[in-house]
């Protein structure tokens, strides 16, 4: 069994009376693209700061390829990071910043970096003072991908990118995965997470709610079923896991959680002419979790 890229063990962080992260146990195998989701204030950034050794855990520990996250001189040889809010030295140009980050980082593939600069359409001659949010993010993304480090920690990396650049981002993540690198991706762009992630963790109020592959999450969640029929409407009231959403003449739309057998039996009593089952998007799954928190 290979060493996991990230492993946390009862990782806990308190800021005074606020419990920002509560006994998080998480394992990300090497080579996996791992999505890390949660509403604002759930503890995502705190987790990342602990993984990077930028903050010290109150209890528990985090390991990067079996190196303690606090030992940054060793652990950071194995990772690259893109912060949510990229701040750069305003007087340095993009080229100078990439040189600085290459010299102080875990190493750089300069040919790949040149390729990424071209693909992200980054003007390296401008001082960082003149960069927009998206351009600052591009500098950090190019620097991080160019390291080819075995673990990439990306915190909201595409929040300032346009759709074309986001496509380039997805390509770069796919290349990293093909290259055997692990990616720890924290994002609110759920379509993006759905497109690139192997597994997803959902965090809420400092606690881990669920970790699963996207198809597994789907299975655990409600599908939306639309049935068209002739004759009398089937009676679904007594069927467990069914939540009626809409009813019209000759049409029923309901959310279905859990195994579908009982619902199908109930439908079989009617003369069903068409049946469509739509799987929930990650966004709907996420809103489902979030909605539970609200209640």
């Amino acid at each position: 069994m290979t060493t996991p890229a990230v492993r946390t063990d009862q990782l806990t962080k308190r800021y005074g009376r606020l419990l920002a992260l509560d006994r998080l146990d998480l394992t990300v195998p090497a080579g996996e693209v791992f999505g890390f989701l949660g509403p604002n204030g759930a503890g995502k950034s705190t987790t990342i700061r602990l993984l990077l050794g930028l903050a010290r855990p109150t209890a528990g520990r985090a390991r990067i390829f079996d190196v303690d996250a606090g030992d940054v001189a060793a652990a950071h040889r194995l990772l690259a990071y893109v912060p949510a809010d990229v701040a750069l030295w305003p007087q340095l140009t993009g080229a100078e910043l990439l040189d600085l980050l290459a010299a102080t980082g875990p190493g750089t593939d300069t040919a790949y970096r040149a390729d990424l600069v071209a693909r992200f359409d980054l003007d390296l001659s401008r001082p960082a003072r003149t960069y927009s949010t998206g351009n600052r993010q591009k500098v950090a993304l190019v620097a991080a991908f160019a390291t080819r480090a075995p673990l990439l920690v990306l915190d909201e990396p595409t929040s300032g990118l346009d759709p074309l650049m986001e496509l380039q981002f997805r390509r770069a993540v796919a290349e990293a995965r093909a290259n055997g690198q692990a990616v720890f991706l924290c994002s609110h762009q759920l379509a993006e997470v759905e497109a690139v992630c192997d597994r997803v963790a959902i965090l809420r109020a400092g606690r881990l709610v669920d970790v699963a592959t996207v198809p597994e999450l789907r299975r655990l969640h409600r599908s939306e079923v639309t049935a068209r029929f002739t004759g009398p409407a089937p009676d679904l009231a007594a069927v467990p896991g069914v939540d009626l959403l809409d009813r019209a003449d000759g049409m029923l739309r309901f959310a279905l959680a859990g195994p579908p057998a009982a619902a199908l039996r109930a439908l079989a009593a009617a003369d069903v002419t068409a049946l469509t089952v739509r799987e929930p998007s990650l966004e709907e799954i996420f809103l489902d979790y979030y909605g539970q928190a609200e209640q």
Partner: protein
């Protein structure tokens, strides 16, 4: 609907940003003046001594360094001579720094985008910030005039002196406000304003020196203060020059504010440039690269001042050697050992610890600001420990401080050599190196602050140098018990090159600085990165 008008809200915001330092500046200004008035009787009570010291007025070197001594026979006149220039420099420097911080600094950080998306115009927002700074300086002036009057000096002189200092501060605020319209960065605007103040101070010093260049004293912001002669003639007319010097740039700033893009200045740097790749190879060399430009600025200022000190050495020491009575009086007034070039330079080298300590505190405060702004995050995400990053910054700052000491020594040596005063370069270097441990204590205090109280790096960093100097001066003035003066590092500083260094004290200071620095780096490495 909100109960607060938009203008009022912006005024409150501006007030919140300056009120604390404004209170400190006002307290120091009024307190220091009242203290000197109160101790006048003890140091200068003998009328004969006062009139003899007034004879120093004929010496160009004394006039250049300490201002033209007029009205020394009164407590008020003596106070103006002793504190006037120091307080003028304090008020103008604070005024300039506060102005660029709350205007261009806030705009550069993007926070004015939100303010200006509201109903106020750029000129309206700027005007309200200037009004708050004006109110702070006027309040300081009122407090100062009240303190001087309460201490028993004549009201007319008190009012004139306080008005002059307030106008000098307002001139600095107005010039800074104008500079923030021209330069797109806070650093550029601050640098330009500091250059204006530096040139103004040199003009005042040269103008004070003798009648040939006396017209230079009409140049703002410091010269006209000398012309007003509070407590000795009370001339109000020169303040008109200051009022104009404050009003014109303030008006220009308000006019320019409406005609430029937000976050841009009238000066537009080219959009792109070729990369300059030197000193980007490691966090250590990058620390050197970031320090290089500020170090050049500090070197220029310190070098110019000590060149002037050197050029004046012969004239001043010769005068005092010929007039031992005056040398005694100068010693009583706090300037001992001025009769020889070694004693004279040793006295002035002691002051050097303050600018070097300020350089160290400001550099480490910039490091703390880079952390808060998130600029250190990407460096810390590399295989670089916090210890290594801060150690590189501290080492660079210490080396920069040593370079500043060398610049001061060489400048003094060049000046003394020009006038044939005969100060060997080795003696000058020994003299400036002697004060380095005091400056090191300042840098060490700033490092400790970075570890334990990162918001207060500048204030804590200035405690050993500026705080120690104020403590020494105060303890001397009020004849405090010896242990009070012994708390200040200056109490243990030998007058090198006039005397041998106080080696035990030097070693204790260096060891103390090393211990504080170590503790600071350790606590920095242990604490979470602030964002």
């Amino acid at each position: 609907m909100s109960a607060v008008a938009p203008g009022q809200a912006v005024t409150r915001l501006a007030a919140r940003q300056v009120r604390r330092p404004a209170l400190v500046v006002a307290a120091v200004t009024a307190g220091m003046s009242a203290l000197v008035v109160a101790t006048y009787a003890r140091t200068m009570g003998d009328a004969g001594a006062a009139s003899a010291l007034a004879a120093l007025a004929g010496n160009p070197a004394i006039r250049t360094l300490f201002g033209e001594p007029v009205g020394l026979d009164t407590a008020g006149g003596f106070t103006v001579w002793r504190t006037g220039t120091v307080l003028a420099v304090l008020l103008t420097t604070w005024g300039a720094l506060a102005t660029t911080r709350v205007t261009r600094g806030e705009e550069e950080a993007g926070r004015w985008d939100l303010l200006l998306a509201g109903r106020l115009t750029p000129a309206g927002v700027l005007g309200r910030h200037l009004a708050v700074l004006t109110a702070a300086l006027v309040s300081t002036g009122i407090l100062l005039a009240g303190a001087l009057k309460a201490s028993g000096t004549p009201a007319a002189g008190a009012l004139l002196h306080a008005t002059g200092l307030t106008l000098a501060g307002l001139t600095a605020v107005a010039v800074a406000a104008c500079a923030t319209q021209v330069f797109p960065t806070r650093a550029g605007a601050t640098g330009a304003t500091m250059a204006f103040l530096g040139v103004g101070l040199l003009a005042r010093m040269i103008g004070d020196g003798g009648p040939a260049a006396a017209w230079l004293r009409w140049l703002p912001p410091y010269g006209p203060l000398a012309l007003t002669r509070p407590y000795h003639g009370d001339r109000w007319a020169p303040l008109l020059a200051l009022a104009v010097a404050a009003a014109v740039p303030a008006g220009a700033a308000l006019a320019l504010a409406g005609g430029r893009d937000i976050r841009a200045g009238l000066l537009r740097p080219p959009v792109g440039r070729a990369p300059r790749r030197w000193l980007l190879g490691s966090v250590e060399t990058f620390a050197v690269r970031r320090a290089a430009r500020p170090l050049a600025g500090w070197s220029a200022g310190i070098g110019a001042y000590f060149l002037l000190i050197g050029l004046l050495a012969d004239s001043l020491t010769g005068f005092l050697a010929d007039n031992p009575r005056f040398a005694d009086l100068a010693a009583q007034a706090g300037f001992a050992g001025l009769g020889t070039v070694e004693g004279y330079t040793a006295t002035l080298f002691a002051l050097l610890a303050i600018p070097i300590g300020a350089f160290a505190a400001v550099r480490l405060a910039a490091f703390a600001a880079a952390e808060t702004a998130g600029r250190l995050t990407l460096l810390r995400a590399g295989p670089v420990t916090g210890t290594r990053l801060l150690a590189a910054e501290v080492a660079t700052t210490v080396a920069g401080g040593a370079a500043l000491a060398a610049v001061a020594a060489v400048a003094t040596w060049v000046g003394t050599t020009q006038v044939g005063a005969g100060l060997p370069l080795a003696a000058a270097l020994a003299g400036t190196a002697n004060v380095l441990p005091v400056a090191l204590l300042g840098g060490a205090a700033a490092t400790l602050a970075l570890g334990v109280a990162p918001r207060a790096v500048t204030a804590i960093g200035m405690l050993p140098t500026a705080g120690g100097f104020l403590l020494t001066v105060t303890a001397d003035s009020v004849h405090a018990p010896p242990w009070v003066g012994a708390l200040s590092p200056y109490g243990h500083l030998a007058a090198v090159p006039a005397t041998a260094p106080n080696w035990p004290a030097t070693l204790v200071m260096v060891a103390g600085a090393a211990a504080l620095t170590g503790a600071g780096i350790l606590s920095y490495a242990r604490r979470d990165l602030r964002l």
